[in-house]
């Protein structure tokens, strides 16, 4: 009936995915860059003044590893809470230990780890709710402040702490907020594009249905109209059995037209029922049986089969048995009826194998269609 377009990614989804991807890559580049070009040189410049240089270098390498893992997860779209927070927690512990290993009273000047841990937080929590990053940055700041307090607090050190806090955590939080804000227009653009795609798909479907209906209607008109004109003009005699049969055929085809528009689980059987309706009104006992699973039968094949069925039904005297048998590779429809004479069967297209046999009063007509 109607061929639907193959489902593909909506343009809006593609757009949203591109925005998100660009943001992820920017975060990875920024965090890795900070760790290499910011934290790295700071560490190297103060080697010799830490409690243990070896520990500081190990911690730097470990955080580099966390950044690598976090980057892979982010780029693959992973956002599981447990893993994200395990990475963030590891960075928090490592950075606090590194801060604790800084020379007393020079902690803020020599600590490379605080800022870098905050960036790790941005990286691994970028796809988590913003509040989680807030919690992480607060914990990080509290831990660093605790290390600072160990060496004794005084006005200068607190002022320096606040300055560094504003410079690192502030910027990190601001970037995360901006990332979220950037996502909002992307989502809106995506939603708008989705609506547009839906509307055009509906329009296309409606157009196709209308065209198909019109084609069927034109086809019907070609045969029904002359008959109606003949009846109106008196050239066709309603008492003539041939005219009666022609009317019955047209009525059955009209019913089939209506049935074709229905959404039925087994369209072939549904359309055969519609074709049988006219014969049943005439007092013909019609029995429709199905066996096995009926495969999907394309509309043009159903047409070929129902065209045959209509002729048999119209010519039957009192009974018709219709069977629909599903095969592994097709379907077999047969009609056994009591017909006074062999009716002229419509010529069938090559892909429909039609066979018939007459025995005394009984007519057997079979149509086979193979999927292959």
């Amino acid at each position: 009936m109607t061929a639907w377009p193959a489902p593909g990614p909506r343009p809006s989804a593609v757009l949203a995915a591109r925005y998100a991807r660009a943001l992820d890559i920017a975060a990875v580049v920024a965090v890795a860059g900070w760790h290499l070009a910011g934290a790295g040189p700071l560490l190297v410049a103060h080697l010799g003044s830490y409690a243990s240089d070896q520990f500081q270098i190990t911690a730097w390498c470990a955080i580099a590893l966390i950044i690598a893992v976090g980057s892979v997860l982010l780029l693959r779209g992973y956002r599981g809470r447990g893993t994200c927070w395990a990475l963030a927690g590891a960075a928090l512990v490592l950075s606090t230990a590194a801060a604790a290993g800084c020379p007393p009273a020079q902690m803020l000047a020599t600590d490379w780890a605080w800022g870098t841990a905050g960036w790790v937080g941005v990286l691994v929590l970028l796809r988590r709710p913003l509040a989680e990053l807030g919690v992480f940055l607060s914990l990080e700041a509290l831990a660093t402040f605790a290390v600072l307090a160990r060496d004794g607090l005084h006005r200068q050190s607190v002022a320096a702490f606040i300055t560094v806090l504003a410079g690192s955590a502030g910027i990190q939080l601001a970037i995360a907020v901006a990332a979220g804000a950037l996502n909002l227009p992307a989502r809106q653009a995506a939603a708008a594009a989705t609506r547009e795609a839906d509307a055009s798909a509906r329009q296309a479907a409606a157009d196709r249905i209308r065209t198909a209906r019109r084609a069927r209607w034109l086809e019907l008109r070609a045969t029904a109209e002359p008959l109606l004109r003949g009846l109106a003009a008196g050239t066709a005699d309603p008492a003539d059995p041939a005219v009666q049969r022609a009317c019955a055929v047209e009525a059955a085809r009209l019913r089939r037209l209506f049935a074709e528009a229905d959404d039925a689980p087994e369209p072939l059987v549904h359309e055969l029922h519609a074709c049988a309706d006219v014969a049943q009104r005439r007092g013909v006992a019609v029995d429709i049986e199905t066996a096995a699973v009926i495969p999907v039968v394309p509309p043009e094949v159903r047409r070929g089969i129902t065209d045959l069925a209509i002729v048999v039904l119209v010519n039957a005297i009192s009974r018709v048995r219709i069977t629909v048998t599903g095969m592994v590779d097709g379907v077999i429809v047969s009609l056994v009826s009591d017909s006074p004479a062999q009716p002229e069967l419509p010529s069938s297209p090559g892909w429909l194998a039609v066979d018939s046999q007459r025995d005394q009063q009984s007519l057997w007509v079979e149509a086979r269609w193979n999927t292959t």
Partner: protein, 229 residues
Amino acid sequence: MEHHVRVAIVEDHPVVVEGVISWIGADPQRRITVAQVVSDTAGLAVPRAADVLVLDLELGGRMVADEVARLSASGYRIVAFSAHVDPGLILDVLDAGAYAYVSKDEGRDHLIEAVLAAAADRPCVTRSQAKAILADPRPGRPALSGKERQALLLWFQGMSKASVARRMSISENTVRQYIDRARVKYATLGRPAHTKDALLARAIEDGLIRPGEVATYTTLASQPRPALS
């Protein structure tokens, strides 16, 4: 025995009972007598008063298909007579040991024939049974030959056996053999039942199948001959 078959009718609808009795009465050779009519299986006479049981599968809104095996074991030859035409139910009832399945639509044409066939331990394949066999999706279903399938299909489609014979360019008798052979193959399947053994033994006596064709027949033959008469 074929000339005097005692039948019990288990049916809860009086109209259907009347119909069955009238079909039995219409048999010009008067081969069947109605021994008992009950509306539930619990009312059947002990010891049994009939050879063949015409059993409605739905009594008082309750499905009694699961009683077929027990009733078969107690010596009845069962002809299931039901408004249901679900192929799965038909196969289950045959598997439980029923001789034939006649849908209520087929009663007029086939019920008497099915009762007489059951009394003689012979198969009777109605169109609804043919449909169930053709559509059997179970992996352990018997292998049917191409001719057996073709005969079953044409029979299911509604052709008379004479028409099937003409269509297949064989004799009507051969058509019967193909259809009955397909049915008898089902007697070798599933749970053992005396009635299935009797059906198989009769099929071999009639030359419908050879003992070698039935894989399980050797094991059946080693058992005492079913006490059904």
